[in-house]
Amino acid sequence: MTPPYRYLEEIATADVAFEAWGATREEAFLAAADATLNTMVEEIGTVAPRERRVFSLAADSLDLLLFELLQEIVYHKDAGRLLLRVRDLRIEETGSGYRLHAEATGETIDPGRHALLADVKAVTLHRLEVGKSADGWRAVVVLDV
């Protein structure tokens, strides 16, 4: 199955840019989380759901909410050497912005089983966008690697 994201060649030469999409904003967020994980590990299917983490995040706009979510994946990669796949995600509007509740599962990095790619350093704000497209939602992200 073709994943709901693709890496972009034409922007940010030294870094990794991608667009991710879905029928709903939640699906687009899940796709962006997978694209981030896929920047670090070649086959995201090799990441087994041995550990669970729960994220409750808030931001005043949808794109910054996505920044917060992806940043969590990058944080756990270093802090716990965890590769995490976001499985379930709910976005709510609040008076002042948005709130996200997500559940992620994954496991400790094992170079024997995980074909590793680039170490993502950070999620950048350069050209970051989340918006409606003709057939759903679309996000564009540039990761610093």
């Binding site: 940010a12 030469t13 030294a14 270093d78 680039a118 350069h126 540039v142 690697v145």
Partner: protein
């Protein structure tokens, strides 16, 4: 091609984009490049360097080095000096990998002596200096000890036995930016960094065994002063940064600045990645103190890696590293903001100099250089691709047009995704081996991304810095062994 129509040629290698180019530009932007390099710049560079020219308090020119390319916020190869009293500090002008930099170590061994043991050396160094995604280092410290380390810099590592006292004077800022305050750093940053001392990272980070061939010594006298004295002398060069710690410090303050910039300070920037705050504001000072911790973490990291390299050479050759002549030449920083004294419009001034993917290159006699390099100017270590070679340059006294700053590498010409489509890691490794370059990698596709063809011609870049009066060639160094992060 995307070279702006209103760009004006100032000299052979200096090009200027006037303030009329874009609303909000406070100073002109200057690009340092040959005509050929200028025509090869990607679309983002001109957009980004003119965005930098809009930042409050910028003085002189917003500058882009000959190896410049499209980054986030600033271009890679970007330089901006701010008036510290009325200007801003911007994490996007420093980069997430704070104090990513290069270190060069000598040996008194020749190619003939090293070549038979090259595979052993590379394999053992690869085992001793962990590389790749989420790796942990071999130096175990508590969180509290880590906080002391990032306040003290390379001195902390030397005190614990990782290196020699003389390494410190051969490191930019003597391996420690004063004023680093770990209380300005988040728990999350410490979580990410405290187990990573002594690790290489990935992407364009590498450790390379190189040879200085007699025909590649451009200035024998300066080469001698830098310690290159033998025909076919072997040296070790490496490139890495502040790891997850620095990345998190930059991320944390990007968030802080984004909020404060809009509401509290009413500053508007063309790209959110240029989020900034007045340097003298509480947010600006907090970031500056936290950024210094990340600068110091990077010095600690490179100090420990140098120690590991010395250990491996010592084991393989059965001699003390001192008897192998393993003195450090220098350590340079790429991604920093520092207070420096420069002459602006004929007057000495204190300036906040942002360098992102650019190297400080102090000329002869400038304060801040150790006595051993006072006559020669600062050694500048410029890393090329693993195929084409690297350079040891020297700072020159004509570097004032860029506040004594020069290029940092050969500069990417092809995106990582495009390089992965064009090259294959395993095939590349075999081709390099046939050319006498033994490569170990943590990631095959990572290796493909770093193929020589994905970069600009390093000789063109270095020649442009020389013609523009930013630095001069001393020695060209050719790779023979590489550990790729």
């Amino acid at each position: 091609m995307s070279v702006p129509k209103d760009i004006r040629r100032i000299s052979d290698t200096v090009w200027e984009i006037p303030v009329s180019h874009k609303a909000g530009m406070l100073v002109p932007a200057r690009v340092f490049a040959s005509e050929k390099l200028l025509s090869e710049f990607d679309d983002g560079v001109f957009e980004q360097i003119t965005n930098v020219a809009t930042l409050p308090g910028i003085v002189g020119h917003a500058c882009c080095m000959p190896d410049g390319h499209w980054g986030y916020g600033f271009p890679i190869g970007g330089l901006a000096a701010m008036d510290p009293e009325c200007g801003v500090i911007s994490p996007g002008g420093i980069g997430f990998d704070i104090n990513c930099g290069m270190r060069l170590c000598l040996t008194n061994l020749t190619y003939g002596e090293v070549q038979p043991r090259l595979r052993t050396l590379v394999d053992r160094v690869a085992g001793r200096v962990p590389a790749g995604v989420g790796v942990e280092g071999t130096v175990r410290v508590s969180r509290d000890e880590f906080c002391q380390a990032v306040e003290q810099g390379a001195r902390w590592a030397v005190k614990r036995g990782y290196g020699w006292m003389e390494d410190l004077e051969r490191t930019e800022e003597e391996g420690c930016l004063r004023g680093a305050d770990a209380s300005r750093v988040s728990e999350k940053a410490v979580d990410r960094g405290y187990r990573q001392i002594g690790t290489l990272g990935s992407g364009n980070h590498y450790l390379e065994i190189q040879v200085a061939r007699a025909e590649n010594v451009f200035d024998p006298e300066t080469a001698r002063a830098f310690g290159i004295v033998l025909p076919d002398q072997v040296v070790v060069m490496f490139h890495c940064g502040s790891r997850g710690f620095g990345h998190q410090v930059a991320t944390d303050y990007l968030r802080v600045f984004l909020a404060a910039m809009r509401g509290k300070y009413g500053i508007h920037v063309p790209d959110r990645e240029l989020a900034c705050a007045p340097f003298r504001s509480p947010e600006g000072q907090d970031y500056f103190a936290a950024m210094k911790c990340a600068v110091n973490m990077s010095f600690v990291n490179r100090q420990v890696i140098l120690h590991r390299i010395r250990e491996v050479f010592s084991e393989v050759f059965g001699k003390d590293p001192k008897d192998l002549g393993m003195r450090q030449v220098y350590d340079v920083s790429h991604n920093t903001a520092k207070i420096e004294r420069h002459v602006l419009e004929g007057k000495p001034r204190e300036l906040l100099v942002h360098r992102k993917g650019a190297t400080r290159a102090f000329g002869p006699g400038m304060p801040g250089l150790p006595d051993i390099y006072r006559k020669t100017g600062q050694p500048v270590i410029l890393g090329g691709s693993m195929e084409t070679g690297s350079y040891l340059l020297a700072g020159v006294d004509t570097g004032d047009s860029t506040f004594f700053t020069t290029a940092h590498g050969s500069g990417r010409a092809m995106s990582r995704t495009a390089a992965r489509k064009r090259y294959r890691g395993r095939q590349l490794q075999e081709q390099l081996e046939q050319r006498g370059i033994y490569v170990r990698t943590a990631s095959w596709s990572g290796l493909a991304e770093e193929a020589g063809g994905a970069y600009k011609n390093v000789d063109d870049v270095v020649e442009a810095t020389e013609r523009a009066g930013l630095s001069r060639r001393v020695v060209r160094l050719l790779p023979i062994g590489n550990v790729k992060g």
